[in-house]
Amino acid sequence: MKPVLVIGGGIAGLTAAVELADAGAPVILVEKSASLGGRVARMHQYFPKLCPPRCGLEMHYRRLRESQAITVLTLAEAVDVRGVPGDYEVDIKIAPRHVTADCTLCGDCAKACKAERADEFNYGLAKTKAAYLPHGMAYPMLYAIDRAACTAGCRECETACKYGAIALDAPPETRTYKIAAVVAATGWKPYDATKLDQLGFGKCPNVVTNVMLERMAAVDGPGGGRILRPSDGREPRTVAFVQCAGSRDEKHLPYCSAVCCSASIKHAAYIRAQYPETAVTIFYIDVRTPGRLEEFYARVNRDANLQLIKGKVARVEENPATHDLLVTAEDVMAGKKNTLQFELVVLATGIVPEPGWLPAGLGRDEFGFVSGSNGGFYAAGCARRPEEVSATVEDATGAALQALACARRGARA
């Protein structure tokens, strides 16, 4: 059987890859960044169980480590697919990691390195050296060197590495594989909060986004797990969540991003657990916690220090002296408009499908989500529609079956 190509190493792609391999199909898993794990690796906890995503990731990684059936290519992107369902050829462009598989994780390269780069894993809240380990749950567990961030002419990491694992001059390469089908699990990115003019992001330091809050709460995040105000490093005593920051808004994202309500309720739960004195307010249009997430919402909502106000936030302004924030929002149920003060504001920014190359035959809907499943191409996860992890896993498992069927038909033909 020819392998199935899975594009994207986030939870959808990982799931599809592992499920396919366990069903006996060989898999090529390509990920464009230096490590698998995608967005979930950056999350502090999942709702509704408030459990760490790494627990499930570790189970997938274990299968990857032990399975001979899965080829993992990082810093890799599919650039062209030719052929017919069951019998394609794909070109995969692989950017050099500049660190070989001889890397032992000893960390001497990062110690020797003097150049810094913005840490995308931490949504820019921290920096890493140009020689960096993507994160503590990276796969493959190897350092990488961001050549764009290197000091010109510097080769100190090369000297420092005792294992000959540095390859500063490695060129990019393109490999061609024969494949049977494609699962496109290209994922999502957060909506650019600087486009939300009225909400203060980028202008007021204490306005952060929901994905940034995940990193602030994570023990391996920039603050070691303590949620602190960016302006002064103080514990916030009042926190506001602005739901639908971009979503359900014709000017931004006309669709609902599906996960932000549950995410903000989760955030409220862990902020309240960390700071028993802190009051949390959520401004919402509708609270959307489908299925059993409703019980999670009901449980968190029993907290007297959590207040929900039905109303869209019109604007967020800053008191320049204190960096506190003034949130002006409707209170629909009371039929009035209020301005309330908070020490930290979290924008529940929505899900935007990752743009980029798709095999011909897969299209995009009016919002940019991948649609259709033409021949041997199947979309899965948040590339297809905004959804939470559990639904993503289901979706990816289903897409894996369709790809398997295509690969088996190809093998029989």
């Binding site: 499920e19 366990d22 069903a23 502090h44 509704p48 459990c51 760490p52 995503p53 790494r54 627990c55 499930g56 189970m59 990684y61 299968r63 480590r65 032990e66 001889d102 032992t104 994780l105 503590g136 567990m141 005792k162 294992y163 994570a218 023990v219 391996d220 006309p254 669709y255 609902c256 599906a258 509708d286 959307r288 916690t289 489908p290 299925g291 059993r292 409703e294 019980e295 009901a298 629909v332 149920m333 009371a334 039929g335 529609r385 905004p386 959804e387 559990s390 639904a391 896993v393 289901e394 979706d395 990816a396 498992t397 289903g398 894996a400 079956l401 369709q402 398997l404 088996r408 038909r409």
Partner: protein, 699 residues
């Protein structure tokens, strides 16, 4: 006699932290055939050295004392079946303990001795090899079940599709509109060369195990026996019992109906008032009729908001002027479905309001009066309507009177919560506590038709995976690929039934006397039975009570006057062990008097190990496992919880032996709580110092 090779790496700071000659001596003392150190064992040269010894026959099993077994897996993977034991001298020793320190050295030497003991107690696994049926049995011929059947058949697997009604279609057949045609889907299934469809058929009995389920079907022409390898349960949902919705006016007037009744009416023809057959000029849709209500259904039924919008659409097809009211708690139209809500809001005759329905009564003119409080209008409103539609919720229909399993632990899929049978919500939604049986669609969670179809494919994928893995003698999730399985030395069984009661997956049946009857293909290889057994008769070729006991024996316990307490930590290998690795990676120092042994699951903890440790003079024993309780994180659902129970029982015994119960402690730890480990270890060792040495030391 096995020929052991011991290979010790001095790279990554191990050589700087330890006296390598002394470490290497431990290898020599073990009578290893080969014992060598290398400056970078994972390098091509280092690996080639090991391979050469294996190829020449100088060694036949290998201990690699280097980094964590979670890294460099590929480098240290030799020919199929070669026993490789990894000793973690890097993350668990060199990276988190004082270099050149006596205690660090003793720790490394103990770990090497323990690793050697483990390697010597490991036996080659003889995989299961039975004839495995690759047939997928799909129970339920609605949209989810039929989809699962067609997709599994398209992937090349024979399918048996069982439906209790006369025709395929289920509730979808009664719907007015679907994005796919149920009729076409049913036809595809009926004419598919790999699908055998049994309508008007029920499951009478299921015996056996994955790969060899013997299924008794009750058909119109009598009973029939079939064999299947794995099962998809797609028996759908039931509408919430409308009789319980009297508080929302059900029963007050024939013009108060449920969304399901509305759907059936709309599927057949025009929408008319049930009371008099007259056209409907005004409708109130009452959302969350039963759902999101602790008195009724605590969950959200997910589909009702969208279904109401669709039903408004049906009405609009016949009447643009009719007045429509929707009273909701929250309108839930996630993702791209938001556009449907927006379109509905744009219609001038549709009125949506948040509100709480206070009363629904028959009005004197025959219409129905609906009163709602706390509306967006800031007050209570009363609306008179020709028709009231209660958006009644979905009740799962997959765990009662469906499968009739002949399992010791009961005939159906065990329920986790609210009637849903899944066991690992979030990461592994298809897992149930019955191996090889996967729930699909609304059995698992409330969902709409589109998600239900994709979900059915996913469940079919899991079923296919199960037969594929079983045919290779391999376990399914979470130890996917594992070929070991428990064997029972039944001559010594006392029929105490602990194993058959505690197995989280119902793998063990019982004979009349209570002797366990193993079903290895149902087994997930967690070792809970091994931990439960007081007679220690359960073991795996590569994991046994004796093996862990030998590792404990390999720990050197210093004399009392040396003032070096010894603590044994038995930890879950899935979560606590990676957390320890991360503590190492982050160079978090902690007390070097702790000896860690990873277990498959804390549920495999056999209390004899604790007794062994204490009787050898070890001062205290820590157990570190996953969080348990309602939001458990255990991959085997209740391993740490079972360990906690065993520990509580043991503490009583301890008191009789005049040992302080504080010498035993169970801690729940998540995989990302590596930052808590140093304080946890240091604190426990400190308490052991305060308690003083274990009085059994030296006996």
């Amino acid at each position: 006699m096995s020929k052991l090779g011991v290979y010790i790496c001095s790279g990554c700071g191990i050589g700087e932290a330890l006296d390598m000659a002394q470490v290497s001596k431990v290898g020599g003392e073990s009578k290893a055939a080969v014992c060598r150190t290398h400056a970078a064992l994972c390098s091509a040269e280092g690996v080639a050295g090991i391979r050469a010894d294996l190829d020449s026959g100088a060694v036949d099993r290998v201990v690699v004392a280097a980094c964590s077994p979670r890294f460099k897996t590929e480098a240290f993977c030799f020919n199929h079946g070669t026993i490789v034991e990894r000793v973690n001298l890097r993350e668990h020793v060199a990276w988190c303990h004082k270099p050149g320190d006596e205690d660090t050295q003793m720790l490394a030497e103990d770990y090497l001795r323990m690793g050697i003991a483990r390697a010597l107690k490991t036996e080659a696994v003889q995989p299961l090899s039975n004839e495995i049926s690759d047939t997928i049995l799909v129970v339920g011929g609605g949209i989810a079940g039929t989809t699962a059947a067609v997709e599994a058949a398209n992937a090349g697997y024979p399918v048996l599709l069982v439906e209790k009604e006369e025709e395929l279609g289920g509730r979808a057949a009664a719907s007015r509109k679907l994005t796919v045609s149920m009729e076409e889907l049913a036809e595809t299934a009926l004419y598919h060369p790999r699908i055998r469809t049994y309508c008007s058929t029920e499951i009478r009995k299921i015996e056996g195990q994955p790969g060899m389920f013997d299924v008794t079907l009750g058909t119109v022409s009598g009973e029939q026996q079939v064999r299947a390898g794995a099962i998809v349960v797609a028996t759908g949902w039931k509408p919430y019992d409308a009789a319980k919705l009297a508080h929302l006016g059900y029963g007050a007037s024939p013009d108060v109906i449920t969304n399901e009744q509305f759907e059936r009416m709309a599927a057949k023809g025009p929408i008319l008032r049930p009371s008099n057959g007259q056209p409907v000029k005004s409708v109130v849709f009452v959302q969350c009729a039963g759902s999101r209500d602790p008195e009724h259904l605590p969950y959200c039924s997910t589909v009702c908001c969208l279904q109401t919008l669709r039903q408004i659409g049906y009405l609009r097809e016949q009447d643009q002027e009719a007045q429509v009211y929707v009273i909701y708690k929250d309108m839930r139209t996630p993702a791209q479905d938001e556009r449907i809500y927006r379109q509905a809001q744009d219609h001038p005759m549709n009125f949506f309001t948040k509100g709480e329905v206070a009363a629904v009564k028959r009005w004197e003119d025959g219409r129905v009066a609906v009163t709602a409080d706390h509306t967006l209008l800031g007050e209570s409103i009363t609306v008179l309507a020709d028709l009231v539609v209660l958006a009644a919720g979905m009740v799962p229909n997959g765990t009662e009177n469906i499968l009739h399993l002949t399992y010791r632990q009961g005939p159906e899929l065990p329920v986790l919560r609210d009637g849903f049978p899944d066991s690992h919500f979030v990461c592994f939604p298809y897992e149930t506590r019955r191996t090889g049986i996967y729930a699909a669609g609304t059995v698992r969670s409330p969902m709409g038709e589109d998600q239900g179809r994709r979900d059915a494919m996913g469940a079919a994928m899991k079923a296919i995976q199960c037969v594929e893995l079983a045919s290779k003698g391999r376990a399914v999730h979470p130890r996917g690929g594992d070929m070991s399985f428990p064997s029972f030395f039944l001559q010594r069984c006392t029929q105490c039934k602990r194993c058959t009661e505690e197995c989280p997956f119902g793998a063990l049946d019982e004979d009349v006397k209570g002797t366990p009857k193993p079903n290895p293909y149902r087994c997930r290889r967690c070792g809970v039975c091994m931990g439960a057994c007081p007679e220690r008769i359960v073991s795996f070729a590569n994991y046994s009570v004796d093996m862990i006991a030998s590792m404990i024996k390999a720990i050197e316990v210093p004399e009392e006057d040396e003032e070096k307490p010894r603590v044994l930590a038995l930890v879950c290998e899935n979560d606590a062990y990676p957390a320890l690795d991360l503590a190492g990676l982050k160079r978090q120092p902690y007390d070097a008097n702790v000896r860690v042994i990873p277990l498959r699951c804390l549920g495999s903890l056999n209390i004899v190990w604790i007794a062994d440790a204490l009787s050898r003079g070890i001062d205290g024993v820590m157990l570190i496992g996953c969080k348990y309780g309602e939001d458990y994180q255990c991959h085997f659902t209740k391993g740490s919880e079972l360990a906690a129970k065993r520990l509580e029982n043991l503490k009583e015994t301890l008191q009789r032996l005049q040992l302080e119960p504080e010498r035993l402690q169970l801690t729940e730890l998540a995989i990302d709580e590596w930052d808590k480990l140093p304080a946890l270890f240091d604190g426990f060792v400190e308490r052991m110092r305060e308690l003083g040495p274990n009085p059994y030391k030296g006996f």
